[in-house]
Structures are given as structure tokens and as C-alpha cells.
Symmetry: C2
Subunit: 496 residues, 2 copies
């Protein structure tokens, strides 16, 4: 057996072993949010810290570097999309990122984030930016230090961006977002002038909601033998391991659409996770590509499928059987309600059109911070100015403005743009699927979701990390990433 081959097998075993332990970590996290008794939380944090320690040791094991250097440049990895080449490329990336950050900086980052979360909670409650600013200042400085350790293509922001969206840079995203924004602002203005559709109010018993939801996500392709649906305060999707992807939702007895669309969204994530090839589990080829590509799957099922007219042609009659509160609501009225566009202050409550402007605002502010063009103290004013410019509204307080999101308080910069990238990927993939498969709407209206799911599995899921996001888009759709499919999709929907 040649040396590179033997080194590869060592790396594979090491990687798979670490993945099984990461699955255990996944379960600790899932249980924490769904099942854990109140008084068990302190010990759970200790368990997660202990397992983090084990995983950290594994990911920084110096033998990884030694083994990689025995393979790199060898024949084993000459075909860049072979199993071995992809895994080695990604292992190198992960290993370099693990060892580039000094232990002292890693601890300072973790400490500032833990502190930041508590400070942010107080600042938001008091709606007082000045309470949060010093911590954010510190976290920003540490994040810049981290960026220098990691290295970057063009500017420091890219080092962090690359962590979430491999290969992506701010400079490459800016023109795409600018074009999208130019199209969205007038579209939203128009939709807004039409006024909000009447919301769907009434009593929606939780049992009936859950039964309806379970039947719909099963139709879509969620296999309850490979996953679970539970309730949690903050809905999420968690792939524990092959054959074990779990989603959660939160039921509002006055509005069935919240849990419904939330759970379909999480189903999209779970379908992607379960579609990654099990035979490569524990290696990069068995993993999803990026946050943005993940989001493209959840948004596609939530918005392009489950908010579409053909979907409700099939499911509205079924929903009416379950919920008396729907009465004899007409399909048009129902569709208007679940697709209404309404500028608001809060990102997580935003509709699928305005959502992207919430994201751009954050992306632009982060970029200005990293480029030294904006001071932390000036964020609230800059935030409100952009809200007026993009959505025509002014937050009445910082709690409903610059203090609304938890992410910065945990040191997560360059995370937000992956959401809008996800929407762009989704529209571009959906357009390509339609080209390949024919009339998707006609399929949805008769409950046939498996053609789309099979297409996604074949073109995206089964490929694991073979490609970087932009390369995947090019390979799957034959075109470079572009905002045009998303713009056309939204104009089509709101032009109706």
C-alpha cells in the first residue's frame, strides 16, 4: 500500500470518528432545546464544554497536517473532483482554520461572545445601544484579529465570510445585492401601496395543526423513520447522523401558518441533510456545502413550493377539513394572506420580499464596520437611515432596530448575507429544475413532490462538498450566480 493511500485512510478514520462525536454533540444540543429538564441546563453546558474539548483536540491533532502533506501533490488527488481530492482539499481547509487561530485568541473570542450575549440581552431589554457598544467594539476588534490569522482574498471581512460561505467575498457579492435591491425597493413600494391582505385569524387547535403539518411534510418527502418533529421555543433543524434528522416548530393556536411555514422551512433543511450521501458520512463529501446552500433548500420548499398557488389548490381543501376557522375562505384571499408584503421592523417576522432588504442593511453595516467607514456608536443612526431608505419606515426604538438580533452579540459577523445568497441560489436552482422537469406547479397541484426532491438530491444533495457554492451553481444551472432568477420570481409572484 502506498504512503498517500495509507495516510488517506488514517485521515478518513480520524474524520469519521470525530463526526460520530460531533453527532453526540448534536444530540446534546437538540435535547437541550426540546427535552432537557429545567434544572439540567447547568450540567448540559458542562457536557458540551467537555465534548468541545475532545473535538478541539481531534481537529487540531498535528498528525492531520503530517498525513495531508503525504497526500497533497500525489496521484491520489490528481482528479480534483475525485472523492479523495475533495476530502483532502476540505480537510486541509478545516485543519488550517483550526490551527491558524492561537488558543489565546480562541479563548478571548469565546469569552467575549459569552459575555456579549448577556450584555446584549440587557441592552435590548433597556433598548440602550450604549450598553452594548463597548462589548461590540471589543468583539469587532477580536474578529478583525481572527481575520488576520485566517488570511483573506481581498479584505478582512472575507476571512469570516469564507467560513460560512466558502470562496465568497464581499466585493463579489456587493454588485449582486445592489442589483437585487434596485429591483426590490420599487416592487415592495408597489406591493405596500396595495395594502396588506387580511390575515387569517381564528382558532387553530394545536393537535389539528400538528396532524396537518405531519401529513404535509410526509407528502413532501420527510421520512419519519429518519427523523422527528418536536416543539421548541426557537425552531431549528438538526441533523444528528444518517437516518436521524430532527426538526422543531412552535405552534400558535391563533395562527396555523406560523408553525406550518416554519416547519416546511426546517423540512427543507432536513431533506438536504438526509440527502447527503451516507456512504461518505463523516468526511467532507458527506456534508452540506455552506449555510447559503442550506438556506436555498429551506427557502425553496417554504416559499417557492409551499406558498405557491398550485400547492394550495391541493392543500387548502384539506386544511379546511381540519380547521373550521378557515370557513369558506377563497384561494385568492388565502394566497394573498400567506404572501402579503408588509415592511416591518423585525427581520425574523419579515416576508420573503422585504427579508432581503433586512439582510442587505446588516451586510452593508458590517462591511462598513470592517472597512473602518462606520463607528460602532453610529450604528443605530445608520440602521434607521437605511430602514427609511429601503423600507420607508423608522424603528421606534433600538430594541426594534439595531439591537434586535442576537448574532453580533455572539461574534457572528458575515453570517447574515448567507440568507439572501440562499434566496438567490434557491430561485436559480428552482428555475433550472423547472427547465429540466417541466411544469412543477402542475406536479405540486397533484401532490407530486418527488420529481423536485429527486432533482435536488441528484444535483445538489448527493454531491456533498464536491463544489464550492458558486461552482455548484454553475455546474447545476449552467450559469453564474445571478439575482435575476430571484427578481423574476418575486416580480412574477407580486405582479399577479
Amino acid at each position: 500500500m502506498s504512503n498517500p493511500r495509507r495516510a488517506y485512510q488514517w485521515l478518513r478514520r480520524h474524520s469519521v470518528n470525530a463526526a460520530h462525536l460531533a453527532s453526540a454533540m448534536g444530540l446534546l444540543g437538540w435535547d437541550q432545546q426540546t427535552m432537557l429538564p429545567t434544572k439540567g441546563h447547568a450540567a448540559r453546558a458542562d457536557q458540551m464544554a467537555a465534548l468541545t474539548g475532545v473535538l478541539h483536540k481531534l481537529s487540531t491533532d498535528k498528525r492531520i497536517g503530517t498525513m495531508l502533506s503525504r497526500i497533497e501533490g500525489s496521484d491520489l488527488v490528481s482528479d480534483p473532483i475525485s472523492t479523495e481530492a475533495v476530502n483532502v482539499r476540505e480537510w486541509r481547509r478545516e485543519y488550517d482554520q483550526s490551527v491558524k487561530i492561537p488558543a489565546k485568541l480562541a479563548m478571548a473570542l469565546a469569552h467575549a461572545a459569552a459575555e456579549g450575549h448577556a450584555i446584549w440581552e440587557k441592552a435590548r431589554a433597556a433598548s440602550d445601544w450604549s450598553l452594548f457598544a463597548p462589548n461590540l467594539e471589543k468583539q469587532l476588534a477580536l474578529a478583525k484579529e481572527k481575520a488576520e490569522c485566517l488570511g483573506y482574498a481581498v479584505e478582512p471581512f472575507d476571512a469570516l465570510f469564507d467560513d460560512f460561505e466558502p470562496g465568497e467575498t464581499a466585493a463579489a457579492v456587493e454588485p449582486l445585492f445592489a442589483r437585487l435591491r434596485a429591483a426590490l425597493v420599487p416592487l415592495i413600494e408597489k406591493a405596500r401601496k396595495a395594502g396588506p391582505a387580511a390575515p387569517l385569524a381564528g382558532e387553530f387547535p394545536v393537535d389539528a395543526q400538528e396532524a396537518f403539518l405531519r401529513s404535509v411534510i410526509a407528502d413532501i418527502g420527510f421520512d419519519f423513520e429518519s427523523g422527528r418533529l418536536d416543539t421548541a421555543a426557537h425552531p431549528f433543524s438538526s441533523k444528528i447522523a444518517p437516518g436521524d434528522a430532527r426538526i422543531t416548530t412552535r405552534f400558535d393556536p391563533k395562527d396555523f401558518t406560523k408553525a406550518f411555514f416554519g416547519a416546511v422551512h426546517e423540512t427543507g433543511h432536513a431533506l438536504y441533510s438526509l440527502g447527503c450521501p451516507d456512504e461518505h458520512f463523516g468526511t467532507p463529501l458527506g456534508r452540506s456545502i455552506s449555510l447559503g446552500i442550506h438556506e436555498s433548500q429551506s427557502r425553496m420548499w417554504e416559499n417557492m413550493v409551499a406558498r405557491s398557488r398550485p400547492f394550495w389548490e391541493r392543500y387548502l381543501p384539506k386544511a379546511k377539513e381540519r380547521f373550521k376557522a378557515l370557513g369558506d375562505v377563497r384561494l385568492e384571499t388565502f394566497l394573498a394572506a400567506v404572501n402579503r408584503v408588509e415592511p416591518g421592523f423585525i427581520r425574523v417576522d419579515a416576508d420573503e420580499a422585504t427579508y432581503n432588504l433586512h439582510i442587505m442593511l446588516r451586510f452593508e453595516l458590517e462591511l462598513a464596520l470592517f472597512r473602518g467607514e462606520l463607528a460602532v456608536n453610529d450604528i443605530p443612526a445608520a440602521w434607521n437611515e437605511k430602514m427609511r431608505g429601503y423600507l420607508g419606515i423608522t424603528p421606534p426604538s433600538d430594541a426594534q432596530g439595531a439591537l434586535q438580533d442576537v448574532h453580533w452579540s455572539m461574534g457572528a459577523f458575515a453570517y447574515f448575507p448567507t440568507y439572501t445568497l440562499g434566496n438567490m441560489y434557491a430561485a436559480q436552482f428552482f428555475q433550472a429544475a423547472g427547465r429540466d422537469l417541466g411544469d412543477l406547479g402542475a406536479m405540486f397541484s397533484r401532490g407530486a413532490f418527488s420529481p423536485l426532491l429527486s432533482w435536488l438530491r441528484e444535483n445538489i444533495h448527493r454531491r456533498g462538498r464536491t463544489y464550492r457554492p458558486r461552482d455548484l451553481v454553475r455546474t447545476v444551472t449552467g450559469e453564474d450566480l445571478s439575482p435575476e432568477p430571484l427578481i423574476r420570481y418575486l416580480e412574477g409572484k407580486y405582479g399577479e
Copy 2:
């Protein structure tokens, strides 16, 4: 800081870290039996194997031996029941046991057990001892090899016995069991002649069962902020960590007593687990003593409390409010039904009197195997002969005889006697509690369980592993372990 003190602190950190990882393992196991989707089982086995590997490395870390030798004999451990001395004594015991078994033997044991479980399932289904015998032969030989590695007081069996019940030996248990058996055989014979009481048949809706059960175990002292109740095919109790003890049960819609007494039993385990001192979590002082002492707690709450007359004086009226099927059943009839004595073939279905004879039979056969007085092929005949002698019945097949239990197929020898030791401990503790607290029955009849629970916490739970089982019994009750309290308790109950 002195060397022993520093070594002690290293050991404490090492032990606590391992305990947090063992908690993660506990959660993997709990989830496997309660929540895990069908298709997630294969990966779960891999996760548990990976974490076992981590735990094994920690428990055999050579630095443990080095650190222990820096402390042993020092002033730090001069008081044998000080925190340090108890922890060091137990760490030494655990470390020696971990390193005494060569890796090759450990692997052979694990392999034979995994193989054995599958073979046993087939053998039981076919009720064919000859299918299982060769594997049992192999496991017995490996167990004897393991005993030689571990070392023993009197005979090889003791090495394995000590693993479950520290300090216990077969020779010391035999006379206790002989005395108990001599009292039980005629008692059961008499109870049997009286004929079985009418069982409680009818419809017991699962929702009502669960509500009743939750209210009763909350009364007993189970804190739902520190634990959960779920359903599982094979009921169990699992302490994950401080503030997180989980029990499971299985509901039979035709008989509420199955889930009820099963769950009260598991509650007894959970109360013990939660009563171990949190401040010592992760060290021996924070752990329960042995399987037998654990079983004493579950059996006491199940049998001595929850099958007693005063208990049902309080709860039968409440049960009647929940279950129409109970009609106007009289207290006498109800008590006779839940305390009936009925010799049967299956241990797990046995009542609290005959159960001990099922255990003794197994203990005697295991001992004969280890002493070379019985051949594996002769087990079924010996089994049936003892069943006739002790319970007056002959199993119609080996599936209902020598093949009924899973334990031997997993290499668990010397495990069964801890059940009857548990019953003996329970009766002796219960007698001492009555002496200290006064009329326990009067307390139960008004729902006052906290005096007994506080007594158990003070005398048993909070002590962690300070004592070995026999020393604990002597310390708490002032007397050596004896079967007499159990005999008196059973004669009192069945003499009624």
C-alpha cells in the same frame, strides 16, 4: 501547594471531565430507547462506540496511576471517610480494574457478547438451548479469564460479583440466601394454596394512567424540573447528570398497575440518583454505591410503599376518580390483587415473594458453572429441577426456562444476585427508617412521603460511595446485613 494536593486536583478534574462525557453517553442511551428514529440506530451504535473509545482512553490514562501513587499513604487520605480518602480509594479501584484487563481480552469479551446477543435471540425464538450453548461456553471461558485478571477474594465468581456489588462474595451471600429460601418456599406454598386474587381487568385509558402516575410520583418526591417521564419498550431509569434524571414506563391499556408499579420502581432509582450530592458530581462521592443498593431504593418505593395498605387508603379513591373500570372495588380486593403471589415461569413477571427464588435459582446455577460443578449443556435440566423444587412448576419450554433472560448472552454473570440483595437491603433500611421516624404507614395514608425520602437522602443518598454496601447497612441500621427483616416483612404482608 503540596504534591498530593496537586495530584488530587488533577484527578478530580480528570474524573469530572470524564463524568461529563459519560453523561453524554447516558443521553445517547436514553435517546436510543425513547426518541431515536428507526433508521438512526446504526449510526447511534457508531456514536456510542466512538464515545466509548474516548472514555476508555480517559479511564486507562497512565497519569491516573502516577497521581494516585503520589497521594496514597499521604496525610491527605489519613481519615478513611474523608472526601479525599473515599475518592482516592475508589479511583484506585476503578483504575486497577480498567488496566487489569488486557485490550485483547476486552475486545474478545465485547465481541462474544455482541455475537451472543444475536445468537440468544435466535435460540430463544426456537426454544433451542443447543443453539446458544456454544456461545455461552465461550463467554463463560472469557469471564473466567477476566476473573483471573481482576483477582478475587475466595473464588473466581467473586471477581465479577465485586464489579456489581463491591466487597461482596458468593460465600458470604450463600447462607443469607439459604435462610431466605427456607422461609420463602413454605410462605409461597401457603399463599399459592389460597389461590390467586382476581386481577384488575378493564379499560384504563393511557392518558388517564399517565396523569394519575405523574401526580403520584410527584407526591412521592419526583421533581419534574429535574427529570422526565417518557415511554419506552423496556422501562428504565437513567441519571444523565445533576438536575436531569429520566424514567420511562410502558402503558398497558388493559391494566394500569403495570405502568404504575414499574414507574414507581424507576422513580425510586431516580430519587436515589438525584439524592447523590451534586457538589461531588463526577467523583466517587457523587455516585451511587452499587446495583444492589440502587435496587433497594426502587424496591422500597415500589413494594414497601406503593403496594402497602396505607398507600392505597389514600390513592384508591383517587384512582377510582380516574378509572371507571375500577368501579366500586373494595380496598381489600384491590390490595389482594396488587399483592398476589403466583408462581410463574418468567422472572420479570414475578411477584415480590417468588421473585427472590427466580434470582436464587440463577445465582446457584452461575455459581455451579464457575465452580465447575455444572456443564453448560446441563443448565436447562438443572433449571427445571430447581423450578419444581422452589416454585412447584416445570417450564413447558426452554424459552420460558433457561433461555428467558438476556443477561448471560451479554456476558453478565454475577449480576442477578444484586436483585435479591436489593430486596434484603430495602427491608432492613425500611425497618430502620420506621424505628427512627415512627409510623410510616400513617404518613403514607396522608400522603406524607417526605419524612421517608429525607431519611433516605440523609442516611444513604448523600453519602455517595463513602461506604461499601455491607458497611453502609451496618452504619445505617446498626446491624449486619440479614435476611430477617425481609422475611418478617413478607410474612407480615402475606400472613394478613
